[in-house]
Symmetry: C2
Subunit: 383 residues, 2 copies
DNA sequence: CTCATATACTCGTTCTCCGAGCATAAGCGG
DNA sequence: CCGCTTATGCTCGGAGAACGAGTATATGAG
């Protein structure tokens, strides 16, 4: 075995990163993006073919010139299993090196008990391992809760206790992350925030989740629990949050807040409750919605002041909420901005990936690891 | 001129980055840190000597073995002029490639008018250029205000209007940044947050400034205005901030907040006023301080929830404020944390760089540029 | 004084990438 | 239908960086 030479696979890794980030890119396109000479492009792609990382197929011609090739994942190349665990169902897909998702599956939970669900996920991993063998390199898991070092610390929608997730992947490396964070990654890579240097992503379901993204990379914090914007004290200090803190923004912007405004009981399912309130046309409902939308927008303005993003993306219930009270949103948003931001406030865009967001984000972060130089070098050493 | 070869100076740039980040590091130490073979270390240092970027001097021996050498800036190598503009004075230093500050100067403003001050800074740059010639590669400037693309947008303490700062550096590249952000960089590189992957730095003078640091790099946002944590709506929405927004945290944690608590007029100099209140021992003053400290601590807790930092560093008046009411601080800090953070809350440490922080941070960011591969390659091409 | 230790220097080898020149596969226009 | 244009791919010699093995050197320990 040859020793690891400095940067031996660096350019190859760069090529794979391009391929993973821009599915369907051509060989000539990669060469342009990385400023590779045609000679280098030939050599690098040949090397990647040799070690079963990529194949090439003729690209549909676009104008004059010698046709180039599309870079595709090798049929014997490495894959990642992406899992998205949701409240009532879960999704899986196989991610290949060219960034495409295959073998999409959607399954409902029969039982929501943690052990049962995790066993099902574990079985899925085992099945995938049987099917793909050593090609399966990694498992990437999106979870609706706070994740820290592959431990689930709290999951309000699932109502699970603290939980170690590593068993799901068995011997394989696991990459567990918060679903809101991962959907932010998807937006920043291929969605509404594509190309943004700094982006803030927020998603309302039960409470609010989100993440700060810098060049497409989430600010995951010391242990992966970054992005819990719902627990910043933007709200009324008199209210205590289930998280243990007081005045959390969370309490001001979802179905629970609407119910409070309307003097109704705290709903069991805040998402459905919110959707129901959004269908109402009575004055009280409209006022409650406007109030919640204002709380959302002024919090967003605070985050814009703090982070100066190029763009803010919103997902989940934030989209219909804003749509229901656009004026209240705009007023509170602009009103919460520092003066110098008001000239050209960062746009607040609806997320383009919806249900697929977490899965695609999980896929993207896993591919980041798989297309890193050491991972490529390790794979190449075995072929 | 040879075309830029991919990574031609990459290892050399890595070596210089090490030297700049750890002043006084030895050649053997760099080789260990970068996992270079002894042969490569010999070659790279020789190359760096040849192009007048480094010199070596015998290192004081530490134990057995052949003595190694200290890597020092070359006497004819590139330098940066670091400037720290403060309310009543300004500081300068020359920064060399090995990260050391030379020729420290401290000057009081004769006039605080923007044009006069900027002219003085400009003159300093010109003098430095006369003295150092082409060795002077860049000017790095710390300013007590919001900076965006080398424009000063607002500077409450200086009471200046919006202002273009580029003229200060003349033809040279300018790197202007907020002083609080830069002092955070200093903490993250060589201060209390050294080694932290994610750090939050906060500093109270008039209002609160700060930054989120990821691997020692500040999250500067789309245009360099990131880190304005003082303008997150942690406070009372009834109050309007000079920044244009409402409920800003800023209004709850400095001398203006103390005066409001005490029913006194808004002070002209909130810093001195705060220091005076901190010397008082009457019940009203103690209560006001406790209130402000609580507002500070619960805001910090919110930022910890959001960013999950390894460590929080505080500077300026935040240090004596916390010292004056440590119990109020701890209670509000812990009380504002999400439950899972309470087991091992990130430490809130006093900044170790005090007045030198902005200057050292400005120096560090400038050196990041100067020790980047393209800058090294460009310099080498001329020697 | 000798040995152990840590580091520095030398040199041949390996490997990647480059650029120049040539080859190739399309579309375009007469 | 045949050259021309255009974009891309392939080949090959060369440059340069980094490595490893071997050797040299300066210190401390016993």
């Amino acid at each position: 075995m040859t020793p690891v030479r400095r940067g031996q696979w660096q350019t190859a890794a760069d090529v794979l990163t391009q391929v993973a980030r821009q599915p369907g890119i051509t060989r000539a396109g990669v060469a342009r993006a990385l400023r590779l000479s045609t000679g280098s492009a030939t050599e690098v792609t040949a090397r990647l073919r040799d070690v079963q990382l990529l194949t090439e197929e003729p690209a549909p011609s676009r104008g004059r010139g010698r046709p180039t090739t599309l870079l595709r994942a090798h049929p014997e190349g490495p894959v990642v299993l992406a899992l998205d665990l949701r409240q009532s169902n879960w999704r899986t897909a196989i991610v290949t090196l060219d960034g495409s998702l295959e073998n999409h599956q959607y399954k409902r939970h029969r039982s929501r008990r943690a052990q049962v669900v995790l066993d099902n996920l574990r079985r899925q991993v085992e099945q995938t391992q049987e099917q793909y063998g050593v090609r399966l390199q990694m498992v990437s898991l999106a979870v609706p809760g706070t994740v820290r070092d592959n431990h689930l610390l709290q999951a309000p929608t699932l109502e699970w206790a603290e939980l170690d997730l590593t068993a799901v992947a068995g011997e394989l490396p696991l990459l567990a992350g918060n679903d809101a964070t991962l959907s932010g990654v998807a937006e920043a890579r291929t969605g509404a925030a594509a190309g943004a240097g700094t982006a803030v992503h927020l998603i309302i379901e039960v409470g609010i989740g989100g993440t700060l993204l810098i060049d497409g990379v989430p600010a995951h914090g010391a242990s992966g629990a970054g992005g819990e914007y719902g627990h910043m004290p933007f709200g009324d200090r008199a209210r205590t949050c289930p998280c243990g803190a007081r005045g959390c923004w969370d309490l001001e912007i979802d179905g629970r807040a609407l119910a409070r405004q309307l003097g109704e009981a705290t709903p069991d399912d805040p998402v459905r409750y919110t959707e129901a309130v959004l269908r109402r046309t009575d004055r009280a409902a409209l006022a409650a919605v406007a109030q919640v939308v204002s709380a959302l927008a002024s919090g967003i303005a605070g985050l814009v002041n703090a982070h100066d993003p190029d763009v803010v993306t919103i997902g989940g219930l934030a989209i219909p909420l804003r749509a229901a009270a656009p004026d209240a949103f705009d007023e509170a948003y602009r009103g919460g901005l520092m003066t110098f931001h008001r000239g050209a406030p960062p746009p607040v865009l609806a997320a383009t990936h919806q249900v697929d967001g977490p899965l695609r984000g999980a896929a993207a972060l896993a591919l980041d690891q798989l297309t890193s130089e050491p991972a490529i070098a390790a794979w190449a050493a075995r072929h």
